[in-house]
Structures are given as structure tokens and as C-alpha cells.
Amino acid sequence: MLRINNIEYSYEKEKQKYQYDFSLKAGETIVISGVSGVGKSTLLDIIAGFLTANSGEIILDKIKLANLAPEHRPISILFQDENLFEHLSVEKNLGLAFSKAIIDKEKIAIALKNVGLMGYEKRWAKNLSGGEKQRVALARTLLRNKPILLLDEPFSALDKKTAKDMRLLVKNLVKQYKWHTIVVSHNIEDAVELNAKNYIMKNGILKKT
């Protein structure tokens, strides 16, 4: 269970205060929708550790996350783009998921199979299509298998068909691996197809719809 208890944050130069308070079970997905700039991505930054909240707690199954540096938080984060290192191969990109230097090729093969990119190991990240890149990024989260999955506009750069396929893939993986999933998106279809609870930001406060 992931609990976000009364997290408050305001940017240095702004007056707007953002408040978040909700909880999430394993395998559950929430989608936070709204126009840009209302504080959706801010929440992700806070959970990931890139920003420090002014007050409140983040608790995952009794562990307080606030004291952990971003490198050590049990999260995987996926952005709209820039998730991969363009000049590396797919295999090398996935290899970064392992903490040791040794790459487990078998696990990589399985992960790629799970995202529908079997045999893509030696391909260059630069040469992949948008959808393929996101899939590789997803494969990496598979390999890391962290309990929390944060997605920041993950499908915005994809065309309609690919986005639809990706949503299905994410839905299945989340169900299979029981990740606490938070998706930030301005697209209505995401909430629907991911079978997720829908939240919006109203005046800086996260509210369920």
C-alpha cells in the first residue's frame, strides 16, 4: 500500500501551494489528468525524490520514502521521451537496470518478449520508432521490477494505434506485477483504458473525480 499523506509543496518563486493526499493499493492505477502546469508532474517529482515536499509523508508498506535519495527509491519512472540512451543498443540500455556489471541476457530476452520486441537486443536505440522506444523503456521497468511505477505523459508522443497498444500492455503488466501505478496525462482515454481511478488537480489540490 502506497500512502501519500498530506504532502504539501510550493515552488520557490510561486505562491501556488500544491496538496496531495491519497493512497494506492498494489496493482492499482490512478490517472491524474488536467492541463499542463497545474502540478501533476510535481507529484511525480516528489514521489521520485527529485523535489522535497515541504511537509507530509510518503509511505510504502510502512517504509518512509522521504529520507531516501532518488537513486535509492523503489520506483521506476517513465517519461514521454528521453528514457533511453540513444547511442547505446537496446541490450545495453536494458543492462542499466541491473546493479551489477554482469548483464543477464536471459532476463533481457524475457523482458523484451513481454513487451513484444523479441530479438531487438542488438538494435540501436537511435533507430527505433517512438513506440518501440517506449516499449524498451517499459521492458527496463520490468527488469527493475520496483513496486512503484510513475508514468509522465507516457503515450503523448505516440500515434493513436501505438498508444492504444501501449495502454493495453501497461495494463497487463501492472496487473501481473502488482505495481502501484500513477499516471500523469492530459488524455482522457488513458484513465478509461487503464482501468484506473481518475483524479484531477483543482486549485492545487488533488481530488478524485
Binding site: 527529485f50 537513486e71 517519461f79 514521454q80 528521453e82 540512451f85 540513444e86 547505446l88
Partner: protein, 534 residues
Amino acid sequence: MLLTKGIIASQKRKIIMLIIALSISAFMTLLFFSIINVGNIFASNTAVIKIDILQLILMSLMQASLTTILSLSAGIAIAWALNRLEFFGKNLVVSLFATAIVAPAMVVAFGLISVWGRAGWIAQLLEFFGLSWNFSIFGLGGILFAHTILNGAFAAHILLARVDAIPARKLKSAQSLALTPFKRFILLDWAAISGALPALGSIIFLLAFTSFPIVLMLGGGVANQTLEVAIYSAVRLSFDLDLAVKLSVIQLVLCMIIIFPAIISNSNLANAGVNYSYKWQQKGLAQFTQIIILVLAVFAFALPLLAILIDGIAGGILDTLSRPSFWQASFTSISIGSLSAILTLILAVLIATGRAAFSNGILKAILGLPVFAYLVIPAVVLSLGFYLLSNKLDIATSTSAPFVLIIANSLLALPFAIAILAPAIETINYRYDKLSRSLNLSSLMRWRIVEWPLIGREIGIVLALAFCFSLGDLGIISLFGTNEFTTLPYAMYQSLGVYRSNDAAVIAAFMLILCLMVFWFLPVIFRKISNAKN
């Protein structure tokens, strides 16, 4: 194809650029020819001192290569440190490194001696602790040291912009993947800077290869001459003009070969628009190393500049400032510098916009060559060529002096001006070319509406750069200076010649302050002006 205004604009620009490129090349050939023709007269009279050309070339190549390697390494390390650390006064430090390229080399050489010489600050400090300072600043070691400080700072400034431009999302991805500092450097930083290294390396190589005041002052004598110094000797001392031309052509060809790949590779040295909304600082050993690197770098770079300022202030400013000759030299230097800067800007804009109109990469590179050739022509050869041309055209040198100074200094600053302006204009072109053409903008309209508002800062930098180059020139004025027509470097030299080293110190400090001020304020002012018109 309908000849719309938009298309005509593009053609016009191409033609203007072609004309300029051709004129510049023709001009250079003309200068060389004047020199060769005169050379014959002096065959019997003057000293023909043999020099080993091959050894000279090898020496220059070795020095330049070492400088390039050291400078790039230093630059990478400093950029790395600056990107990670945040501290009060960081902007000041970054601007300081930016000035590396404009500080007059002669002045910096003196500053280096003041700090690192046998009787310098470091030596005195060590003596206080009972240690002795055995490093000789004269010799190959001294040259490399000086070059690395200057070029390393320059490299750091350029590379920092690239590293700072890494998108925030990439940083966050990498951070949550818990990349080690080493992995982070390889995957993020290196990918960002490696694109700039060929061009940056070529420029540093050329600067070191043709380095003059530093090699002259710190070379320690004759063993460490570069081709440039030998050319200077051939022209001014032994008067072996044939040799001078021969060596100049060799230098030209060698350097063109070296810089050609860099021009073609189209690597971009421009500021990619720094937009860092996220800072991923490191802790522990990595941060400690960064701090050490930064402290050493600031130390090494700022100290000589500080030495010049202090020597100048201690040298009895009031005395020097009260002399009318000082103000006359200042007036001349500032006027010539300003006019030279304006000419450089105009030429650079015409060339950059013209080049951008060409879509063929190879054609672009070839057209860029004549300009870059001036990076390589020794100032003394340029000056001699102008002098002889002036004679041939029956113009008294005292009349032609200001014009020669303005034109020659512009030509010498042009390569840098283009290196700064071209990437910005290419980017604008890439974005707005089709739009401008479809809106049927004439060349001038396009300049006023599209280009001018967006490159205010770059224009300021170009003006400042050209001004500072002109300010520090000693090569061209040496043949054209008279009692009525002196510039600050000339006055500085004169002071040294009459035992008045204090005066020289004050002039040096004044030049440095002038350059720093111009370099800090012009870009800001021009950005405001060009944006205000928007």
C-alpha cells in the same frame, strides 16, 4: 519557379557571400604577391640565417597537439565540475572563464610571469613556508601551462553549455536508475560534449599553432619557436621575405588541412539554449573532486588576471593617467576597436546569412575556407602586405594607417565572429527559412523581423570579441605606428623601452579592464536592444 521576393532574398544573400569570400581570397593572394615581389631587392644585403624548417614544423605541431590534449582535458574536467556544483558567485566564475578568449595574450603572459615566475606570488608564498619554487615558466613547460590555462578556460565555457543543456528528463531517468558518477559521465555528459570536441579541438590546435605573444615571451629563447615566431623573425629581423612567404604558405596549408574536417563535420559550438530546470548534484568523492578541480581552475585562471590588475594599481595609476599621451592612445585604440568591431559584424552577418542560404554542406564548407584562412595568417605578414600595398598605391602610410588597422583587425577577428554567429543563424534559418520565403520577406525585412531580434546576444559577443582583438593587437600597429598615431599596446611597449615598467603595468591593467567590461556588458545591452524592437 516563381521568382518571389523570398526566393530573390535567398539568392541575393548567396551572391553577396560569394563576392565577399572571393574578395577575401583574392586579397590574401594580392598581399602574398606584394611581399614576394619586394623580397628580391634585399637578397644581397641582409642576413639570411638558415633555419631548419622541418624541425620548426615538428616543434609547432608537437606543441599544438600537447596543448590541445591538455586543454580539452582541462576543459572537460572544469565543465564537469561546474555543471554539478552550485554556489554563490557561480555566474561570475562562468563569465570569467568566458573571457579567456578575449584577454590580450601579451598582457596575460606578463600576468603569468607575475604569478608563476621565479619571483612570483607562488614563489614568494612557498618561500614563506621555507619551500623553494623550481618551476621555470620559460620553456616548453611554460608555454603549455599558459596555453592550457587560456584554452582550457575557453573549452570549459563551451563544453559547460553543452552539458547544461542535457534535458531534465534525461537526468531524472538516469538518476532513478542509480547510475554511478562514472557511468553518468559516460552516458550523459560525454554524449553531450563529444559532438563539440572535433571543432573545439581544431580551433584550440590552431590557436596554439599560431600562438605568438605567449611563445615569444615564455618560450625561453630560440629552441621553442613556432612557425609563427619564425615568420615574424623572417619579416622583421632578418628581412628574408621570401622565407616569410614560404613559411606562411606552409602554415596556411597545414592548418587548412587540420581544420577542414572540423568545418565539414558541422559540429555546433553554439549555446544550445540552456534550460536546466533540474540539478542532479553528487555527493561524496565525486563532489569533493569537483570542488578541488574548480578551485584549482579558478586559481590558475584568475590569478594572472588579478596580478595584472594589482600591478597596474600599484604602479602609480595617477601618474600614468595624467599623461595626455595615455589618453590619446586610449582614444585611438577605442575608436579603431569600435570601427573594427562594426566592420567585423557587418562582414560576419553577410557571410553567415549567405552561407545559411546554401543547402549543400560541402559547398558551405568550401566557402567558409577563405574566412578561416585568416585564423592562420600571421598578423605580421598581413601587416607587411598592407604596408607594401599602401606603398604601391602611393598612399602615405600615415594616412592609410587607421584604415589598415580597421580592415586588418576585422579580417583577423572574422573567423571567430563567424564561429559565433553562424550556428545561431543556421538554427534560425532551419526554423524559419520556409516560413520567411512563404511570407515573401525581402532580405532586409527578414533580417529586421526574424534574425535581428533573436541574435541580440550573439551580436553583442561578436562586437565585444572583435573590439578586444583589435585592442590587443601589436602585430599590425608595429609597422604603422607613429608618434601621433599610437594604440595602447604600442604605448605599453614604448613604456617598457624607457625603463617605465610601471606605466606599462597600468596600461596593461587598463586594457584588461576595458576588455572585461566590454565583454560583460555588450551582449546584455544588445540583447535588450534587439528584444526591445520586437
